[in-house]
């Protein structure tokens, strides 16, 4: 299909693992679920800095970044990614997150610009619905 407007034919999402934790089962499950829902998913691999993830997001022209953090460093790393995107004139790339995140931390993360936080036990369909909806809104598409 040829796209005539500015909206892409396929949405692209970066799944990133910032920081020191080495557990990427959750990140891989989400990457796989997004793939099966028709997204092109770039997986960063482990131990990325926020700077590296933002650079990757820009080179890959993704619509959004999903950050998986199980180390407890989410209060620093997630807002860092949001801030660096803004500094690179790329704040149209939305950020969402998942992992071991205490409920009490979520309001502050959302305040810092993280669009959604998914904690353990979230069905993958919920994550996909969020990503699909957020991408559609970004390009002013009606929700089907």
């Amino acid at each position: 299909m040829t796209s005539k407007d500015n909206a892409p034919t396929t949405y692209r999402i970066l799944i990133g693992k910032p920081g020191l934790d080495g557990h990427d089962r959750g990140a891989k499950v989400i990457a796989r679920a997004l793939r099966d829902a028709g997204f092109e998913v770039i997986y960063s691999g482990l131990h990325q800095t926020p700077e590296a993830l933002v650079q990757t997001a820009i080179q890959e022209d993704v619509d959004g970044i999903g950050l998986s953090i199980l180390s407890g460093a989410h209060n620093t790393l997630m807002p860092d990614v949001v801030r660096l995107l803004a500094e690179r004139d790329a704040d149209d790339i939305f950020v969402f997150g998942g992992g071991i995140i205490p409920d009490g931390d979520i309001p502050a993360l959302e305040e810092a610009g993280v669009r959604a936080i998914f904690t353990p036990g979230t069905p993958t369909t919920e994550v996909i619905d969020f990503v699909q909806r957020t991408c559609d809104e970004k390009y002013g598409r009606d929700q089907g």
Partner: protein
């Protein structure tokens, strides 16, 4: 994101965000990509294009990661297009080649772009040739194109690259595999990766035997070099770079830049035309008229060959 009206100017000034956006327009076959590509065309032709192909799991991405180190150590800037397969069922893809190239995150002299095949066969995406043009216009010294993990016949890379590396690993077959057509014929350099595994020396003998037979009849091109490497163990990389340099030198002696540019132009025209044809074909082959044609064949009114002839004629209407 700002307006995209001046993408070409921003790309020429080195703006990675703009280049990344144009690559996506190309991948999406957006009409707008065309104008920008035309504007970039005069600025292309100076990048050295290195193709890396081979079986899935042969270590292509890890090898590319090491090659980027080698080129960066010589102060060359490097762009890389890494192709991974698209799911035929969902249309989605997991693009994971970057995982092996993390060493270069944060280096502004390296631009890596992951691309999905989106149903295209041949080892590349339809968009790859035009994406190479964008990276070339940005002034990258070397553009590395890593194909999907290929079988025997996905050899489109050879039309695009100045130098093609074919990455082989031990244990995938006996010497008759080495005699087969396709992949084994396109190498400018054979890279025998994972040479720390048993069987690497035997693989080397098999490739040598194969080369001694059929390349004897070939023209001016030098025999492909054979280099044993271990990309994870960082073995054989200096030899590999030397072999790549030798091929480049031979190429520049035997085939002047003008000839190579001409070949590349020809390939680009074919790739663009084929994409246009694909789009047109998809339209025609899903039309109401096409349904009627299927009805006719189903009912035995006409045979499939006549029907296909009609479909082909619609393409030029």
């Amino acid at each position: 994101m700002r307006s995209i009206d001046d993408l070409d100017k921003r790309i020429l000034s080195g703006d990675v965000r703009a280049a990344a956006r144009l690559m996506r327009l190309i991948d999406d076959r957006a009409q707008r990509a065309r104008t920008f590509l035309s504007a970039l065309q005069p600025h292309t032709g100076s990048a050295y294009i290195l193709g890396v192909t081979g079986n899935p799991g042969s270590g292509k991405s890890t090898l590319v990661n090491q090659l980027i180190h080698q080129f960066r150590a010589r102060d060359q800037t490097v762009a890389c297009i890494a192709v991974d397969p698209t799911s035929p069922f969902s249309g989605g893809a997991i693009l994971g080649d970057r995982v092996r190239m993390q060493d270069h995150a944060g280096d502004d002299g390296v631009f890596i772009r992951s691309v999905a095949t989106r149903g295209h066969l041949g080892g590349l995406s339809r968009s790859t040739p035009a994406m190479v043009q964008v990276m070339d216009a940005m002034g990258y010294d070397v553009v590395i194109v890593e194909t999907v993990g290929v079988g025997q016949d996905e050899i489109e890379i050879v039309r695009l690259a100045d130098t093609s590396l074919v990455v082989l690993v031990p244990g995938l077959g006996d010497d008759i595999q080495a005699e087969k057509a396709g992949l084994m014929e396109i190498a400018d350099v054979f890279v025998l990766n994972k040479s720390d595994l048993p069987g690497s020396d035997r693989l080397k003998r098999e490739v040598q035997t194969m080369l001694s037979l059929y390349r004897a009849t070939d023209g001016d091109d030098p025999l492909p070099a054979i280099v044993q490497t271990s990309a994870t163990g960082k073995q054989g990389l200096d030899e590999l770079v030397a072999a790549i340099d030798d091929h480049r030198l031979a190429l520049e002696t035997n085939r002047p830049t003008s000839v190579r540019n001409r070949n590349r132009c020809a390939h680009l025209i074919r790739a663009i035309a084929r994409t246009e044809l694909d789009i047109l074909f998809d339209q025609k082959a899903t039309s109401k008229r096409f349904d009627d044609l299927v009805d006719d064949v189903e009912k035995g009114k006409i045979d499939p060959y006549t029907a296909a002839e009609k479909l082909t004629r619609w393409l030029t209407e």
